[in-house]
Amino acid sequence: MSRSINQIPHAHAGGSGQSGHRGRSARAGAAQNAYGISLPNFRNLGIVLRILLGVHVAVLFTVALKSPSLYTMGDQLMEAIALVEPLLILSLVLLYALNGVLSRARYFTGAVAVMLLVLALTTLLYLLTRSHLPMDLSGITRYWLLVGLVTAILLYGFELRGRALSPAISEARLQALQARIRPHFLFNSINAVLSLIRQEPRRAETALEDMAELFRVLMADNRELTPLSREIELCRQYLGLEQLRLGERLQVDWHTGNMPADAMIPPLVLQPLLENAVYHGIEPRTKPGIISINVYASRDQVHAVLRNPYAPASDYHVGNKMALANIRERLQLHYDAEASLTARAAGDVYEVHIVIPYQKEATA
């Protein structure tokens, strides 16, 4: 089990709405190991930002405690930051470089290694800044204590966060999200297949096969990343089923010739968006409408741009926003700040743009 969880590289690193997690992580404490907690991914922008923020808050806190007045605080703060900054930046660079090794280590070993690394850097910097003096370590214990404490608090914070957002817990959330696949799609599709059975049994067979495959994915354990090509195939099967019902009203424009087929993405990121596009963009129209799907790689990112006709309707925003929020949360669970989802209505076209870091299967 822990093997499969670890295959999601950043699954523990991200998410919002922290307030709700406290109770959950406390309950999860007893079975900590089952959640496959690992060190934070030091190459993730979100993690780096959180470390920077955490350290600076700690500096501010210590200076505020020490300063007799607000006037002297400014100077002391500058001094303290000048002292801390080289250590902080060096640590981050080293952690970035060693991230691969650290992530393969067991959690406890990794945490000790991080602690030792930071303390060693503290010692090194201490000696360098006092190189004109003879080797003297008498004043360093205070720094060790401070740096050690801040590192420990940060590690503990990341661990708590990782546990709260661990795939095992977010799995429950993911399943709740998936349960919201519109039931009308299932019933309308079954109805469409029923209508084919007498006249066109072969098409009915294909349709049922597509449905089986679609629902196998919808009901699967979706913690692991899936190749982009698989998700696109699923989208084709889904749209095939919708085409059955909607006929010429649904027209699909595929631009997937240049897509990075080997990119690993969270499953069911695109399909629900297409479901939205059909439900909100095509079904309310009397005339045929085009859904366009454009997937490409640019630098180290995979882009997916979905467009559908925009027909402002009363029920549009509620259902649509919920689906978008769901996908956004899942992207955050997987990639933290490195993935994004933007949606906008421009004229009579509604566009959703997803950006995901490009990871191939081998490195995932």
Partner: protein, 155 residues
């Protein structure tokens, strides 16, 4: 009375999805064994349904709720206002519209996918609620005494 119930129930199918219409045709064909009926036509939209009804009146309209343009509820509101309004049976994949459906006095509400037996029940309900034909009413008005005498004789 007997010849009146024996008259085929005229049915109009309204659904924006072609497979759904063809499915209803199949089901109606199954029901036709027990309940004589005639499909007067099918329409892909509410507007088309109103036009078709004006040309070929019918007794029952099988009506989808969620359709582009004029939806099923609105179509039903229009149909109600006509002379000799048809009985409305909604057929939809959603159960969320049931309340609205009965506000427009639908006689039944079927959830897709529909079973032939359930459709037959709805049609039987439509048959029962079918108003007597105008010419029958006219006959009753013209010779009430005669009918009463006949009835007395029968007993």
């Amino acid at each position: 009375m007997t010849d009146m119930t024996a008259a085929a129930l005229r049915v109009l199918i309204v659904d924006d999805e072609a497979p759904a219409r063809s499915r209803l045709r199949d089901l109606l064909a199954d029901c036709a064994e027990k309940q004589p009926l005639e499909i007067v036509g099918d329409a892909a939209s509410g507007a088309a349904a109103l036009q078709l009804f004006a040309e070929k009146p019918c007794d029952v309209v099988l009506l989808d709720v969620r359709m582009p343009g004029m939806d099923g509820i609105e179509t039903a509101q229009h149909l109600r206002k006509l002379d000799n309004p048809p009985a409305i049976i909604f057929a939809t994949a959603y159960d969320a519209y049931a309340l609205k459906a009965f506000e427009v006095h639908a006689i039944d509400y079927l959830l897709k996918p529909i079973r032939a037996a359930r459709l037959a029940e709805a049609l039987a309900l439509a048959q029962k609620s079918r108003p007597p034909k105008p010419e029958v009413l006219a006959d009753l008005r013209r010779a009430p005494r005669c009918r009463r005498v006949n009835a007395a004789r029968c007993i």
